[in-house]
Amino acid sequence: MSAASLPAGEPRAIPTAFAIAEALRIAMASDPDVILMGEDVAGGGLRPEGTEEIGGIMSVTRGLVGQFPDRVLDTPISEMGILGAAVGAAVTGLRPVIELMFIDFLGTCLDPLLNQASKFRYMFGGKARVPLTVRTVTGAGLQAAAQHSQSLYWMTAGIPGLKTVIPSNAADAKGLLLAAIRCDDPVVFCEPKGILFVASDVPEGDYEVPIGRAKVVRRGSDVSLVGMGATVGMALAAAADLERDGVSAEVLDLRSLAPLDEDAILETLGRTGRLVVVDEATPRCSIASDVAALCVDRGFDLLNAPVRRVTAAMCPVPFTRVLEEAYMPSPARIVEAARALL
């Protein structure tokens, strides 16, 4: 089934991938300047009769080209060319959405983000608008190994002038993507592998989740578990475990990594006095380290215990299952870290 064939009407549980497709469809229908570019996003203009387009590596965009034939553009495998052209298109009147198949491929095309899109507004004296969205798949867990499993959002979040968002569920994915596409700044929209095919309730119609706002997804009083993307689900599972032991855990979903909702982090720390931050990325120069530094810097008086970081290991992502599991954060490791603070 493609996203195109979903019934309209009641709120329904749909996979994140379908929620993303809904957002794209709404954005394109409501603004003729929105275009979609990437490798196989249309799925081949020369398909033999009787075959279906693939709609990108995760089939997220399947069916869109039929509705918007001039605005869904298959590109060559030329990430530098695609990203660079998207920046040029964005500053001249289009609102491009780019599919960068995996965030690992930033290595082939960093310049348009690092030195062009992120800098134009500031560098040109506040006069440029760069309404560009880069959708990209992040994270481990599918045995995709070292070059297709990284969580490099710390790189883009560390570049001034770029926004980086990462949803943890289908409803936020739809709302954050609509906000990203309509934002006049360049936004990196992360699609964690761990949530792409997980279904959850998604409202009908057109709505936006504001960029830069974290959300408390579970109330608690003993310890705060701060997650992002797929680690929010891990934190919720850990919170359920801790509950059985009589420990009340609050879970904060960052949703936006840049800008970072510092107030929400300090507020949850204020309620619990203890904080574990869970990040699917490697620990050095990470969002987890940023959050820990924030707690010490601006929240020292709120702390009743050290801040703990639960992250991936500081090594390339391994292929074989046993090592990949050891590499990634998990509910068990979160529970262990939280217990150590009590």
């Binding site: 052209a85 920046v87 001249t92 004296g125 006049d184």
Partner: protein, 330 residues
């Protein structure tokens, strides 16, 4: 076939070339006197290319430029006083003092920016051409770049995409014989950069970049093709960088007679002047009157820039994002 340039076109072109030359001669003097800092790359010797290409462009056409971008900015109509103030880091600069020499841009004039990254303007122009095609603006996008940039992946990826999509783009390679401090022939196996167009089934042209009339004719053909829907072209202009890679370049790496020969025999302004006076297209007094105007403009630009205020340090975080200035800190 491009029609020969009218008297008006020739007057504008000479004013553009003379403005670029005078603007940059002033910069060199200011740096020598210790009155101006930053990394400056001069366009002296290459003026005919920007002037001739931009003579075919309007405000709805876009250009993307390079680290050697002053000439493209001036030819595309960016205000010279604003540019000078930018180089002085003043609030009145084209970019409010935030960009500097390598980042002067004026999107309202269709100028997508000088660029500090070699080759980075090529995909930007490709994207501007995509906008023109999808939105049917009738516009054309031109990427100016050097021979060095034609060795970057961005060049090859962009030419492939532009040819494949038949975009209204013109890729103008200013082959000045040197990539920073390395001779082009040392790092490029093809005789002409234009040969690289064949790999992308793209129309290719070669012009004498010191001859305004030749560049004007060839660029006219390439731009007319693009505007008419016949797709992109690669136009190689053979030229020479008179003053080295940057202001202050000790020039130890190239033979003095090489530059002297070009400067003595192939100066684009002197070649232009000789031809227009010989053929009676413009008079000596026309040209001298423009010289006087331009000298006054550049002197005024320097005087105003020096007197203009700097931005306030309190504005450091302004303009990082379109959506909220306060977010710059986070």
């Amino acid at each position: 076939m491009t029609r020969p340039p009218t008297t008006e076109v020739l007057q504008v072109a000479y004013r553009t070339m003379r403005t670029i030359r005078s603007f940059e001669e002033a910069l060199v003097a200011l740096v020598t006197q210790g009155r101006l800092g930053g990394f400056l790359h001069t366009y002296v010797g290459q003026e005919a290319i920007a002037a001739a290409v931009c003579a075919h462009l309007g405000e709805h056409d876009h250009v993307a430029s390079t680290h050697r971008g002053h000439g493209h900015c001036i030819a595309k109509g960016v205000d010279v006083r604003g540019m000078m103030a930018e180089l002085f880091g003043r609030r009145t600069g084209t970019c409010g003092g935030r960009g500097g020499s390598m980042h002067i841009a004026d999107l309202g004039k269709g100028m997508l920016g000088a660029n500090g990254i070699v080759g980075a303007g090529i995909p930007l122009a490709t994207g501007a051409a995509l906008t023109a095609k999808l939105k049917r603006t009738g516009g054309v996008a031109v990427a100016f770049f050097g021979d060095g940039a034609s060795n970057q992946g961005a060049f090859h990826e962009s030419l492939n995409m532009a040819a494949n999509w038949s975009l209204p783009a013109v890729y103008v390679c200013e082959n000045n014989g040197w990539g920073e401090f390395t001779p082009t022939a040392f790092v490029v196996p093809v005789k002409d950069i234009a040969e690289r167009a064949r790999a992308y089934a793209m129309h290719a042209l070669i012009a004498d970049g010191m001859d305004f009339f030749d560049v004007y004719a060839q660029a006219g053909e390439a731009i007319a093709r693009a505007r008419g829907g016949a797709g992109p072209s690669l136009l190689e202009c053979k030229t020479y960088r008179f003053l080295g890679h940057y202001v202050g370049d000790p020039l130890v790496y190239r033979a003095k007679h090489e530059a002297d020969d070009w400067i003595r025999h192939r100066d684009p302004l002197r070649l232009f002047e000789a031809r227009v006076t010989r053929e009676g297209l413009l008079t000596e007094s026309n040209l001298r009157a423009i010289d006087v105007d331009v000298a006054a403009l550049v002197a005024d630009a320097v005087a105003r820039a020096q007197d203009a205020p700097f931005p306030d340090a309190g504005e450091l975080l302004h303009g990082v994002f379109a959506t909220s200035d306060a977010e710059g800190a986070r």
